[in-house]
């Protein structure tokens, strides 16, 4: 974890140093972020020796100072505090959707192996996997407005103010993103369940007359679920990437749209902090996934002890 963290910080740091000179020129000449090249470089912290730059940046980070936006002059932390809840709501809602959809259909498909529910659900997962979420989102905006004269509200309802209305607003983008994220979960859950069904202890459990539903849920699912949990870690990273697209499409002011805006405005202090923060979120989720292994599978506990 720690070496990775160090490597991540170095990578984000290097990104800023690799900024092409003409972009820096553009930043002070056309965008007016500074009066001269020297002042621009000072604002970006490019004027000191490289190791001093890194240590200074690191010290600021550890003090919770993520710098200042060039575009709005506001501190990055205060902007993030505003944007984070939106992405959190969209991300969690779509992951929840993905887990419920992927988990349930995966189990059903495995239980009805090679029957029509299996075929239908597998085809559906393949379709969801192939549908670009931004296209599905575009259609979800266009089609109802043509046929029903209805279009989703583009005015954000904050969760803290009106939770229920806010959830309704996020339902559509979250379902679209969740269907894409849930498809691999469905495929993995199904494949692993089929694998576990072949084991002797499952036959034993059935032979001794246990309730079939109990066998599926307690004996099979619990042993089959670990790879799906692993996938969930990967899917979180995908959910962040997806929210960049969905927030732009549905005009939700979250971290994803902030990322796109900061690139458009060449607001690199903001961009740098965002990239770092998103990487930290992914790492935190992966740690959480590892911890979940222990909870689900006692064998992994024994290995460590």
């Amino acid at each position: 974890m720690l070496p990775t963290l160090a490597a991540v910080s170095v990578m984000v740091f290097v990104i800023m140093r690799l900024l092409p000179g003409d972009v820096v020129n553009l930043m002070f000449q056309d965008l007016g972020y500074a009066a001269s090249l020297a002042e621009m470089r000072a604002k970006l912290g490019l004027d000191l020796p490289i190791h001093v730059q890194y240590l200074r940046w690191l010290r600021q980070l550890l003090h919770g100072d993520l710098g200042q936006s060039l575009w709005t002059q506001r501190s990055v932390v205060s902007v993030l505090a505003e944007r984070l809840p939106v992405t959190l709501e969209l991300g969690l809602l779509s992951l929840l959707f993905a887990v419920v959809y992927g988990g349930v259909t995966g189990v059903v498909a495995a239980v009805r192996h090679d029957g029509w529910p299996d075929m239908t659900l597998r085809t559906l997962a393949m379709v969801f996997l192939s549908l670009p979420s931004f296209w599905l989102g575009t259609l979800a905006i266009v089609v109802p407005s043509i046929w029903l004269g209805w279009s989703p509200s583009l005015q954000l309802v904050p969760f803290a103010a009106r939770p229920l209305e806010s959830l309704v607003q996020f339902l559509l983008p979250a379902a679209i993103l969740g269907s894409h994220l849930g498809a691999p979960i469905m495929r993995m859950t199904r494949a692993m369940m089929l694998e576990v069904f072949r084991h002797d202890y499952v036959r034993t459990a059935r032979a001794k007359g246990l309730d079939p539903r109990r066998v599926v849920l307690k004996h099979v699912l619990r042993n089959a679920i670990i790879p799906s949990v692993t996938i969930l870690g990967v899917q979180t990273s995908q959910a962040i990437a997806g929210s960049v697209v969905m927030e732009t499409l549905f005009q939700l002011p979250g971290m994803g749209s902030l990322l796109v805006e900061s690139v458009a405005h060449r607001d690199f202090p903001m961009f740098q902090s965002l990239v770092l923060l998103l990487a930290l979120v992914v790492m935190a989720v992966n740690l959480l996934v590892d911890v979940t292994y222990f909870a689900i599978d006692p064998r992994t506990r024994a290995e460590v002890a």
């Binding site: 070496p3 990775t4 490597a7 991540v8 170095v10 990578m11 990104i15 690799l18 900024l19 092409p20 972009v23 393949m126 379709v127 996997l129 192939s130 549908l131 670009p132 931004f134 296209w135 575009t138 259609l139 905006i141 266009v142 089609v143 407005s145 043509i146 494949a191 990273s237 995908q238 962040i240 990437a241 960049v244 697209v245 732009t248 990322l259 796109v260 690139v263 458009a264 961009f271 990239v275 998103l278 990487a279 930290l280 992914v282 790492m283 992966n286």
Partner: protein
């Protein structure tokens, strides 16, 4: 050849998908002959025509034929999909084999690097590279090729770790073969199957990410059409008045990704039964 026969006999759906992929490739290669018009032939008098006999897929706000633009869009998607995946397979393959075969410190160092890279959400890293390189087809290919190399190296490393333990590797080392010879003659042929499988699944992913990046406006610059770009630039401002602008590029994209996904699945089932 046996693979082709297996595909047709055992995985007919995969064979159909393969044929579709081949068709898309042909369309991309012979775009100038397939497309009824050039991708940038504007004619303002014909702007925003609905699909009809003259323009099967309608026209956009500049009067350009949407069918022609979808056909030329295949060039961008196929080029990026295949070339970027080739780059990521070569780079990721080399990284993975070296990391898995030599193990120890080399492995530890390389894997921490891969860990750090994987901590960044894929699309974000692609945007970062595009910001640094500037827009263009070459930048998009490089950005996607590099960013996919790291996850792919993990798969290859895993396969190499298994192969490394076999007795024939030890035997050929004991017989005096150099590391290079062992890698090329004994390790590489045995990890070709997982390499093909991972490459075939990455093609569809790369095509999707390219479309997403173009949709956000960082992809191949206009007037060159790409499916993702067509969905953003014109599609969104005119989509209610002219839904065909968003329907056809998206449909083409979905069909292409679906075909590569199904083909990849079929290849995996045939080449690597353990992964089923």
């Amino acid at each position: 050849m046996t693979l082709l026969r297996d595909l047709v006999v055992k995985k007919p759906l995969g064979a159909v998908a393969g044929a579709l992929v081949l068709l898309l490739l042909l369309v991309a290669v012979f775009a100038d002959r397939v497309a009824p018009q050039g991708y940038n032939d504007t004619s303002l008098l014909d702007a925003l025509q609905p699909p009809g006999r003259a323009h099967w897929f309608g026209t956009d706000e500049l009067g350009r034929d949407v069918l022609s633009r979808v056909v030329y869009g295949a060039q961008v998607s196929m080029t990026v999909g295949l070339v970027a995946t080739a780059i990521s397979t070569l780079v990721g393959g080399a990284l993975g084999v070296v990391s898995g075969y030599f193990g120890r410190r080399v492995d530890l160092l390389l894997q921490r690097l891969v860990d750090a890279w994987l901590a960044f959400p894929g699309l974000v890293m692609v945007i970062v590279i595009l910001v640094l390189l500037g827009p263009g087809l070459g930048s998009v290919i490089l950005a996607l090729g590099v960013s996919q190399a790291f996850p792919q190296s993990r798969i290859v490393r895993g396969a190499t770790l298994v192969v490394r333990e076999h007795a024939y590797i030890e035997a050929s080392r004991a017989g005096g073969a150099s590391h290079g010879r062992v890698l090329l003659r004994h390790v590489l042929p045995n990890i070709v199957a997982p390499l093909i499988v991972s490459a075939s699944t990455y093609v569809s992913f790369v095509i999707l990410v390219e479309a997403a990046v173009s949709f956000l406006g960082y992809g191949v610059p206009p007037p060159r059409p790409s499916w993702g770009g067509m969905l953003s630039a014109t599609g969104r401002s005119y989509m209610v008045r002219a839904p065909w602008l968003s329907v056809f590029p998206g449909l083409a994209l979905t069909v292409a990704v679906f075909a590569f996904n199904v083909l990849g699945d079929a290849l995996r089932d045939l080449l690597d039964p353990r992964l089923r």
